[in-house]
């Protein structure tokens, strides 16, 4: 009799409850938070950032390709390739099987040390990675169809300031991995004053590659150029004497050069030369187009703007249109163009 009761309990425990757990969609997951992301291989980590612990695709059983590290410090073999076996010349044989090469695009190049790099595929986030201490990165987007894509790459520096988007129209061919190397993300840029008293210095700073040569351009009636060097962390600072500038609004931008490679210019930021000094905080959020205040410009903002396209603006939306779009009291293509410029995905 006791045994029969036990059978009943065992049935409930080992057969019924696991089924119940499965049906209720409960996921049991154990996460060990270690020091992943410090660039050093710690206990339980296969890799960390660009530190692959001397491993490559071939040591992982592949014939080639690029091994990278996932954000949870495990190997990412999605860009590793397996050579297709040469078809046997008759006579049976067998054994081998054809592994279709993954269709994908790999981006590699320079950003800022330990910075986050985001890849957008057709304007939506497709992959992110972290650059190593030398600002080098490699990131792959796989699982895509053949066709034309617009890929964009941007990075975020140690202060959370985003670079401008670097855009690559790519035609992806079936069964091939496209490598886009030599990507050099433009420096980030900020100023310490939104208004500077004429004759005082304004600090222009940001981040780029370690020890890179930074060229600063300040627009006026004539354009002024200055050069400075980034420190080993990629940070740079240039004090610009505003004596030579006229009163009014001016723009500054920067670009970096290292080992013969030159980045494009950063986005231009503005400051006023006037009669007093007004300090400025580096802007982490996009200056324009962020309609839902989440510090991103993406499909949500596009949808909000699209809602107001060809409609009379409500009293609630009007101030937002003035502040975040072009302020002409309507939502049209110009507003969408502004949005496309400040896009973060």
């Amino acid at each position: 009799m006791k045994i029969t009761h036990l059978t009943f309990i065992y049935f409930i425990t080992f057969i019924f409850i696991p089924f119940l757990v499965y049906a209720s969609g409960v996921n049991l997951q154990v996460t060990i938070n270690g020091t992943c992301g410090n660039g050093t291989i710690d206990s339980g980590e296969e890799c960390d950032g660009s530190n692959l612990n001397g491993k490559s695709c071939s040591t992982q059983g592949f014939s080639g390709g690029t091994l990278s590290c996932n954000s949870n410090c495990t190997f990412n073999t999605s860009s590793c390739t397996t050579a297709a076996p040469v078809p046997a010349g008759g006579g049976g044989g067998g054994g081998g099987f054809y592994v279709a090469p993954a269709i994908g695009v790999t981006f590699s190049g320079r950003a800022y040390p330990k910075s986050t790099i985001t890849v957008l595929k057709d304007a939506q986030i497709a992959a992110t990675t972290i650059a190593d201490a030398n600002a080098n990165f490699s990131v792959s987007v796989t699982g895509i169809s053949s066709g034309n894509y617009i890929f964009s790459v941007y990075s975020e520096d140690s202060k959370g300031i985003r670079s401008s988007l670097l855009t690559f129209p790519v035609s992806v061919t079936s069964g091939a991995t496209t490598n886009i190397g030599g990507v050099f993300i433009a420096p980030t840029i900020a100023v310490d004053k939104s208004e500077v008293k004429r004759g005082d210095n304004i600090a222009i700073f940001g981040q780029s590659v370690p020890s890179g040569e930074i060229t600063i351009a300040v627009s006026s009636e004539e354009e002024f150029f200055g050069k400075t060097a980034a420190d080993p962390n990629g940070a740079y600072l240039y004090n610009f004497d505003t004596t030579q500038l006229d009163m009014g609004q001016h723009f500054t931008k920067s670009k970096a050069a290292k080992e013969g490679a030159i980045s494009s210019f950063s986005k231009a930021i503005s400051f006023l030369v006037g009669t007093k000094n007004v300090s400025a905080q580096p802007a982490k959020c996009p200056a324009k187009a962020d309609l839902n205040n989440d510090c991103r410009v993406n499909l949500v903002d596009f949808s909000i703007a699209a809602y107001w396209h060809k409609r009379a603006l409500s009293t609630e939306f009007k101030p937002k249109e003035i502040e975040r779009l072009n302020g002409d009291g309507k939502v049209d293509l110009i507003d969408f163009s502004i949005m496309a410029f400040y896009w973060t995905g």
């Binding site: 029969t4 059978t7 009943f8 049935f11 409930i12 019924f16 089924f19 119940l20 049906a23 209720s24 969609g25 409960v26 957008l120 595929k121 057709d122 304007a123 986030i125 699982g143 169809s145 053949s146 066709g147 034309n148 894509y149 617009i150 964009s152 988007l165 670097l166 855009t167 129209p169 986005k267 324009k288 309609l291 839902n292 993406n298 499909l299 949500v300 596009f302 949808s303 909000i304 699209a306 809602y307 107001w308 396209h309 409500s314 609630e316 939306f317 937002k320 072009n326 293509l333 110009i334 507003d335 969408f336 163009s337 502004i338 949005m339 496309a340 410029f341 400040y342 896009w343 995905g345």
Partner: protein, 318 residues
């Protein structure tokens, strides 16, 4: 006096040369919006395809807008294909619009953006497949076109527009590849990630869902949505029939965000891709009817096993 005339002639020459140079420079650096087709000769009762391209001439363009004007009496618009377009998000997906003036003219309006901008020589905007209705000469034109620079201000780019002239005849123009087959497409639309959002300025502050994807071969045809609070079993049952056609942004029915949301993107050949959004506040296990069905079923089975075992043992004792 003669010197004065010479000086004037010299001035006119300089002015003419400057004007010519200016014109050349303008045309060199203008963004070109043009048509391309396999042929300029169409056959009555047959389809022909015309594609609209952009050549940005080293400019970075991030927004496009315009209208294609076509003769309604000569051509019937059968289909618009935007499968491989450089436009990432359409503000107005290319569509036929009834012309405001001349009823003999049909219009295809379009408007969209490419975040980060496009710089290239042959960026595909979209294709239009027409059926030729009768013999005659016709022209496809683009009007009200805008291409805006990726400069954060929406500055208009200089434009150069090229019309497309064609002839419709009864005879077969014998142009290879003139038949317009449906694009071969065995792949589903690209994977995508819908996002739940809320903004006080639209939909009375209700939660809505945004989604977008592309299909590189035939193009996305439409989206369908399924909201369900059920788990696996209930969803399986619902997925058999209660999908609703939807567009982004979509106002969620379940404003408490307790439902699983399934978004299906279908391309023009019927391939589909489903994206799933998990409920932000999922139901507790005891709030789900299928869990209770499983519990009751389990108990019934367990009781039946128990009874069977018991009667077997009792039988064995006897």
């Amino acid at each position: 006096m003669e010197q004065e005339t010479r000086r004037r002639r010299q001035g006119v020459k300089t002015l003419l040369v400057s004007c010519c140079l200016l014109l050349v420079a303008t045309s060199v650096f203008a963004t070109v919006i043009s048509f391309d087709s396999k042929t300029t000769q169409a056959q009555v009762d047959k389809n022909f395809e015309v594609t609209l391209f952009v050549n940005t001439e080293q400019e970075n363009i991030n927004a496009f807008e315009g209208k294609i004007i076509f003769p309604n009496d000569l051509l019937d618009l059968k289909e618009i294909r935007d499968g491989n377009t450089i436009v990432n998000f359409w503000v107005e997906r290319p569509h036929k619009e009834q012309g405001t003036g001349d009823k003999k003219q049909g219009e295809i309006a379009f408007s969209g953006i490419t975040p980060g901008g496009y710089e290239g020589e042959k960026g595909l905007l979209f294709s239009a497949v027409f059926r030729a209705l009768r013999e005659g000469d016709g022209v496809l034109e683009v009007k009200d076109v805008k291409a805006l620079l990726n400069d954060g201000k929406g500055t208009p780019a200089r434009l150069s527009l090229s019309p497309f002239k064609f002839i419709v005849s009864k005879e077969d123009p014998l142009v290879p590849g003139l038949l317009i087959p449906a694009p071969e497409d065995i792949e589903p639309p690209e994977s995508f990630k819908p996002e739940i959002a809320r903004d006080s300025t639209i939909f009375d502050g209700k939660w809505f869902l945004v989604f977008a994807t592309q299909d590189k071969a035939s193009g996305v045809d439409h989206y369908e949505i399924l909201e369900t609070r059920s788990g696996i079993v209930g969803t399986w049952i619902k997925r058999q029939g209660t999908w609703m056609k939807a567009e982004s942004p979509y106002v969620l029915q379940d404003q408490n965000l307790r439902s699983w949301i399934y978004v299906k993107a279908l391309d023009k050949t019927g391939n589909e891709r489903i994206a799933v959004v998990k409920p932000r506040y999922p139901l507790k296990w005891y709030e789900r009817w299928e869990i209770w069905i499983i519990i009751v079923l389990g108990l019934v089975i367990a009781y039946a096993v128990y009874k069977a075992t018991r009667s077997k043992r009792q039988g064995a004792r006897k």
